[in-house]
Each structure stands twice: as C-alpha cells, then as structure tokens.
C-alpha cells in the first residue's frame, strides 16, 4: 500500500445498502451481489467513503487487530471485483465512531460473491458478439 491510500466506489453502477451495520453491494451492470462480514462491512463503508486505508491498520476488529497484509488482501479483492478504484483525492479522516464499531465486530474481513444468475441468464439472456461466431451468440449459463 502507498503511504496514503484513498479509494472510491468504482462507478455509478456500484450501489450499496447497509442493514444493521452489514453492507450489501450490487453491481447494477452485471447483477452480481456482494455480502460482507461485519468487520468487512465497516471497512467497506470507510474505504468507499474515501477514508485513508492506512488509518485502519492496527484497529481492533473481528476479535483481532487489522494487519497490513490482511487489509491489503481485502482491498485487492475489492479492486479485482470492480467495486473500488484508487483515488487521487485527499483521504478523508477516520470517523470518530469507527474504531468502536470495528472493535464490536466478531468476524474477519471477508467479502462473498452472490452470483445466482445462472438460471436467470437462460430466461433473460445477456448477449455478446464473439467474432468467430457472429451474431447472435448467447452467453451460456455456467
């Protein structure tokens, strides 16, 4: 990670709601859902608000302490999943209530992918042209 790591939500197609402190994120463009553990939800909310990732290191969370490798792995996942992008904007300060909220969590930093669309793709196909096949080529459910 850089000395000061700020991130932003990757696009306007990434929307999220929070339920009792637990976040659910949807990528509107492809219909994939993401569920976070309790500590992951707090960290997602912080990172997506532009809070400096460095400020999270060392905070108590999920019955342990957030280490740089663990946080780096979590952020890498969010980048690979297309949920976050690096931001050049000035990082936001750590919200005052966040350390206590993180300390109250019981699960490690995790994000789970919910891609239950295999059957729906058949009903409601998403088509993409593949040059060798020509048009139309229906994307098959995996």
């Amino acid at each position: 990670m850089r000395d000061c790591d700020a991130y932003a939500v990757a696009s306007k197609d990434i929307v999220f709601e929070s339920f009792d402190g637990e976040a659910v994120v949807l990528n509107l463009a492809n219909g994939k859902y993401f569920g976070f553990s309790d500590s992951g939800s707090r960290v997602w909310q912080a990172l997506s608000s532009g809070v400096d990732a460095q400020a999270l290191i060392g905070l108590a969370a999920g019955g342990s302490t957030i280490g740089a490798p663990e946080l780096g792995h979590f952020i890498s996942q969010l980048l690979e999943l297309g949920l976050l992008v690096r931001s050049e904007a000035a990082a936001q300060p750590l919200p005052g209530e966040l350390p206590a909220e993180l300390a109250a969590t019981s699960e490690p930093l995790t994000v789970s992918i919910h891609d239950d669309l295999a059957d729906l793709i058949i009903v409601d196909p998403i088509h993409e042209v593949e040059e060798p096949l020509g048009w139309p080529a229906v994307k098959q459910a995996s």
């Binding site: 929307v15 239950d116 009903v123 409601d124 196909p125 998403i126 042209v129």
Partner: protein, 348 residues
C-alpha cells in the same frame, strides 16, 4: 430488415409506439388489477388465452385511485405493423439497453432469439409488444403475460413486482424469498392445500405506502413432477395438462385454495425458506443482509430495467420487516402448520 443500435434505439422505440397506435388495432381484453386497468390489444391465440386466465382480477375499490394503461401485442400481417428490427450493435446488454431508453423516458426489453420487442411509455401509459409472428413470444410469457409492462407501470408509481411467494391468514402474511429451488413454490402450495391464503407465488405486487402490503396479480402456480406427486396434486388435479417450458405442471391458486384470493395481505415478516432435511420445520431469525440477498437478486434480474430503484425498494422493504429463515420439514401439513402458528403467535 432494419438494424437498431443504442444510438437509434429511442427513435425506433417511439416509432413503434406511434406506428402501433395508428393501426387502431381493437382491444380484446381488459383486466382489472390493483390500482390499474390493463387493456390489451391482442389477436386470438395463446397470448389472448393466457390473458383470460393468468390474472387474479381485482375487485372494484373506489377508495383506490386507478390508472388505465394500454398494451398492443402486434406482429407483421396486421395492417401498418412493420417487421421487427434486429439489434445492430456489436454488443448488447440488457442493462445498457434499458439505461439508454430510460434517458428518454421510455422502458423496453429486447429478446434476440425471436426479435421480440417490448416498449413502454410510462408517461402516456402505452406499450407495444412486437413479435415476428403471432406466436413468436418467449415460452415463459403465457405464465405471467405482459409482466414487463406491469413492472414498468407499477415501478413508475413506487410499487414493485416482486419475485416472491406469499402465505397468509386473516389478512396477515409472510413474504417468501429465495432463489429458484429454495422451496418457495412448494411452501406456497403446501400452505394453500392446508387452509392458508396466498396472493401469489412467482410475482406479487408490493406496496410500501403503509407498511408492507402484497397484492395479487398472477394466479399461476408451478410444481415440478416430483413436487406435484409429493404434494398429492396428481390425484387432485390430474396430469392431462401439458407441462410448461420448464417441464413443470402449472395450475392456479383457485384450483387448490380453500377460499378466494384475498385482495391484499399485510406482510409481517420476510421469510427465507430452505430445504432443511429434518422431519419438522423451524423458523429462526436471520440477518437482514442475508434476507436482502435472498430477496433482491432474482427480483431485480428477472425484470428489465429499474435495477437501482429495485435495489433501493428491496432495501427499504427489508428494513421494514423482521427476517427469518424457515427450515422446511418433509410434511406439507406440518410446514403449513408451522407458518400458521408463526402468523398467529410470532416466533416460537
């Protein structure tokens, strides 16, 4: 055959509406639905037949402000109706298609395999379903005919077609949410067979104006052959009717319900069923996050457009209700009894 791209899509959609309205194609079916009178202009055939039996018609209710919408289901051969265009861009996504139309105040859906177009103008409440021939519609269309138009119309008014089952008693009910195979349809059928009410299985209309209210739209129920046998439906309904496109038996709420379909259910809980594997059923609290993930994905992805508004709507719905996981036992009577007890007394 003309080709339509994202660039020309809004013009083509408006052209379809104008060309279809100019035909003065006669109306053949009017359906009274909650707060909506749907007039369908449709020729004889399977779609017209489906319109005749797929809906639960609403009672007159002067207290409920109603709107009127018209949907033309047309095809070449009807005077003035053009051949359906084909998609001409290199890429197509349902989301990009819907977003482009929404920019110009329209809603729409395109099913490539059949060059099947649906376009709706929510401001004028006029829709067009253009097919290559009279029977060139997707196989799932007769089960819930014109559902996309109802989705757009109700979404424009803050309500939502929701992919969920319902069971209730004495006006109170639960919303059963989950992906296909979770046990929703079997649970609804088990409940109906054992004296509970339902306002629908696959799609119900949800309104959040005063709590969470579920209203009926479609009367169709489905069961795969194993469930049909297990629930005793083969003896009750026979097997003469052809299976649907999914290989499932289809029947109607009135075929098995003890009472007429209620006009509405006040929803008191969001329930996520799953096949428990045990003899008896149980109901336990589940996090709202898990309930939302069970409810929202299929509800949003089975309907064209309105994805973000749907996500927000289902988020609001989930916050309004307590959420539970229902582990399904193996006996239909016991499952129905568990839900009836839950509705009467709350969580055991």
């Amino acid at each position: 055959m003309p080709r339509v791209t994202l660039e020309t899509l809004p013009d083509y959609a408006r052209y379809l509406v104008a060309a279809t309205e100019a035909t003065h194609y006669p109306a053949t079916r009017t359906v009274r639905l909650p707060r909506l009178e749907l007039t369908a202009h449709v020729g004889p055939g399977a779609l017209a037949e489906a319109l005749g039996h797929a809906f639960v018609e609403a009672e007159d209710d002067e207290a409920e402000p109603s709107a009127e919408c018209r949907v033309f289901t047309v095809h070449p051969g009807i005077d003035g109706i053009p051949e359906p265009a084909r998609w001409g861009d290199a890429h197509f996504t349902e989301y990009g298609f819907a977003e482009r139309l929404a920019e110009t105040g329209l809603r729409g859906h395109y099913f490539h395999d059949l060059d099947f177009w649906q376009v709706y103008d929510p401001q004028r409440r006029v829709g067009v379903q253009l097919m290559a021939t009279a029977d060139a519609f997707p196989p799932w269309e007769p089960t819930a005919p014109l559902r996309a138009f109802l989705h757009w119309e109700y979404a424009a008014r803050g309500m939502r077609l929701t992919h969920a089952g319902t069971l209730g008693a004495d006006g109170k009910g639960v919303l059963l949410a989950g992906a296909g195979g979770a046990g929703k349809s079997g649970t609804v059928t088990a409940g109906l067979l054992n004296g509970l009410d339902s306002v629908g299985d696959d799609y119900v209309l949800i309104d959040l104006a005063a709590g969470v209210t579920a209203r009926p739209l479609f009367s169709t129920l489905k069961q795969d052959p194993q469930g049909f046998e297990r629930l005793g439906l083969r003896q009750r309904l026979g097997t003469e009717r052809p299976l649907n496109w999914q290989g499932k038996h289809t029947f109607h709420i009135a075929d098995i319900a003890a009472r007429p379909v209620p006009a509405a259910l006040d929803i008191v809980a969001l329930v996520v069923p799953h096949i428990g594997g045990g003899e008896t059923s149980s109901i336990m609290p589940v996090s709202r996050r898990d309930a939302m993930i069970a409810l929202a994905p299929s509800g949003i992805m089975q309907m064209p457009g309105e994805r973000e508004s749907g996500f927000r709507f289902f988020g609001d719905l989930t916050r309004l209700l307590p959420s539970y996981r229902l582990s399904l036992g193996t006996h239909p009577e016991e499952i129905a009894g568990t839900i009836a007890d839950f509705l009467t007394r709350g969580v055991p």
